[in-house]
């Protein structure tokens, strides 16, 4: 298992070298969005309107953090389950999104779109939320404050630990990992 340091915005050439199963330490700006924010973002795209952040080379982290205490940058912030965003993801990838972070497998349509667009899907450890928060250096709400935990936040992360699930060649760590350890009775 290789460990690769990546910085956002993601560079297409570097992404092509990532392999499913690699470990990634991600640094730079990323954006948070989950169900309700995705619905609004995709509605903007469909109406030809501008998004609250630049999608080119961007990374979206599927998370709704716990509210920060006074003086705290980020409270617990682990990944939410990704499949709920599957319906919205291909159009975001078609508009320049290069990476998504969540937990659990993606649909065939998302996987095909990632191959077509040279994008990757990265897994964070679900439930390891206090540890992940310690890699967040800055956090601010940039859109949809009314959504509370589901608002879009700009985060600056430093060496956020992730695993490459889907690489640009179409490999899938869920399929590979489960096949390796499945025992038939």
């Amino acid at each position: 298992m290789k460990t690769i340091e990546l910085t956002t915005p993601l560079d297409g050439k570097l992404l092509a070298e990532l392999k499913s199963g690699d470990k990634v330490l991600l640094s730079g700006e990323i954006y948070t969005a989950r169900d309700a924010a995705h619905k609004r973002l995709v509605a903007l795209l469909e109406n030809g309107e501008e998004l609250p952040f630049d999608l080119e080379g961007a990374v979206i982290y599927y998370v709704g953090p716990a509210p920060a205490r006074p003086g705290q940058i980020m409270n617990s912030a682990g990944p939410t389950t990704s499949y709920r965003m599957d319906v919205y993801t291909p159009i975001l990838l078609d508009h320049g999104l290069k990476g998504t972070i969540g937990k659990g497998p993606r649909s065939r349509a998302v996987r095909e779109s990632m191959v077509r667009n040279g994008a990757v899907y990265l897994a964070a450890v679900g439930g390891a939320a206090a540890g992940i928060a310690s890699t967040v250096r800055e956090a601010e709400v940039i859109a949809y404050e009314d959504l509370g935990p589901e608002a879009v936040r700009r985060l600056v992360v430093e060496k956020m630990p992730l695993f490459v699930v889907n690489d640009t060649a179409g490999n899938d760590l869920f399929e590979k990992g489960v096949a390796e350890y499945r025992r038939n009775r």
């Binding site: 309700a36 709704g64 716990a66």
Partner: protein
């Protein structure tokens, strides 16, 4: 007849909501440590270590284990010789949730309307409240914050007597198999059998309250639990679904009598952050 002010219930709910979200029960931590020893996949072991490290960070920093601090599920066992005074019982529970989730900096995850508005209620109320009258003059409050990821992988199936115990086992294993990495494995699997449509779903949730390692009192269901656990851990799903030996920490079955025509079965999935706590007032 003992008089009890509902403010006591508010206080218990508030304290439990904060405590359960920061500190896991010892039986769950022990099960995860054991999983780390047994796990064959190097990636699986690494994930389990990250999960165990996270418990330490959460307790040290006073942070929730998981950002999904759940819907507030509250079981109340009310002694029939208790006279509750000082206001409405339901309001007192919701006030405890409101105070705990606000003052504890826990995430508010409830929306007011499930389909049309989906506006966050802002204080994690209303709670899901189950009350049961029991003998005595005490009130027991069980608090179980339930995350959405695992709850979404749960299912009720109206099976038939002909399906038998083998049918139950196949359904449970299949439900876990179809869940893959979504419910944050390693999971605890709550299985309710019997009652009726809605009661068996509640049974499955009640089954999750049993301590890991505490055997089922019925040896036949104990064997069924062991067999289901073995089959689940042969699925290869592993920690976080990325492959490995440990997909579930335990399978807990709870049963009730049911109609001659029916055999309702419910599977309630619980993520590895198996949070629950109780207080007796």
């Amino acid at each position: 007849m003992r008089e009890l002010n509902v403010a006591e219930i508010t206080r218990a709910v508030k304290e439990l909501s904060i405590e359960t979200n920061i500190r896991l029960p010892e039986d769950v931590k022990a099960a995860l440590r054991k999983a780390l020893q047994v796990e064959e996949s190097p990636l699986g072991r690494e994930i389990l270590q990250v999960i165990l490290d996270n418990h330490v960070i959460a307790e040290r920093e006073n942070m929730p284990i998981c950002q999904d601090t759940g819907v507030a599920v509250v079981f109340l066992e009310i002694g029939q010789d208790v006279h509750l005074v000082g206001g409405s019982l339901e309001d007192s529970v919701n006030e405890g949730v409101r105070q705990g989730y606000t003052q504890g900096y826990l995430r508010k995850s409830m929306v007011d309307d499930p389909v049309l508005d989906r506006k966050n209620t802002g204080d994690n109320t209303p709670a899901i409240i189950y009350t049961r009258m029991v003998p005595g003059e005490k009130v027991k409050v069980i608090f179980a914050p339930k995350g959405g990821g695992a709850e979404n992988m749960s299912e009720v199936r109206m099976m038939t007597a002909a399906d038998g115990i083998e049918g139950v086992k196949d359904f449970v294993v299949d439900r876990v198999s179809r869940s893959g990495g979504n419910p944050c494995p390693p999971v605890v699997v709550g299985v309710g059998i019997g009652g009726d449509f809605e009661r068996c779903a509640l049974l499955a949730k009640e089954a999750l309250m049993r301590k890991i390692g505490e055997p089922n009192p019925d040896p036949r269901y104990r064997r069924a639990e062991e067999e289901m656990l073995e089959r689940i851990n042969n699925l290869g799903i592993g920690p976080q679904g990325l492959g490995g030996r440990i997909t579930a920490l335990a399978v807990h079955v709870k049963t009730l009598p049911c109609h001659i025509a029916s055999m309702p079965v419910a599977v309630n999935m619980q993520c590895h952050a198996d949070r629950h706590g109780e207080r007796t007032i």
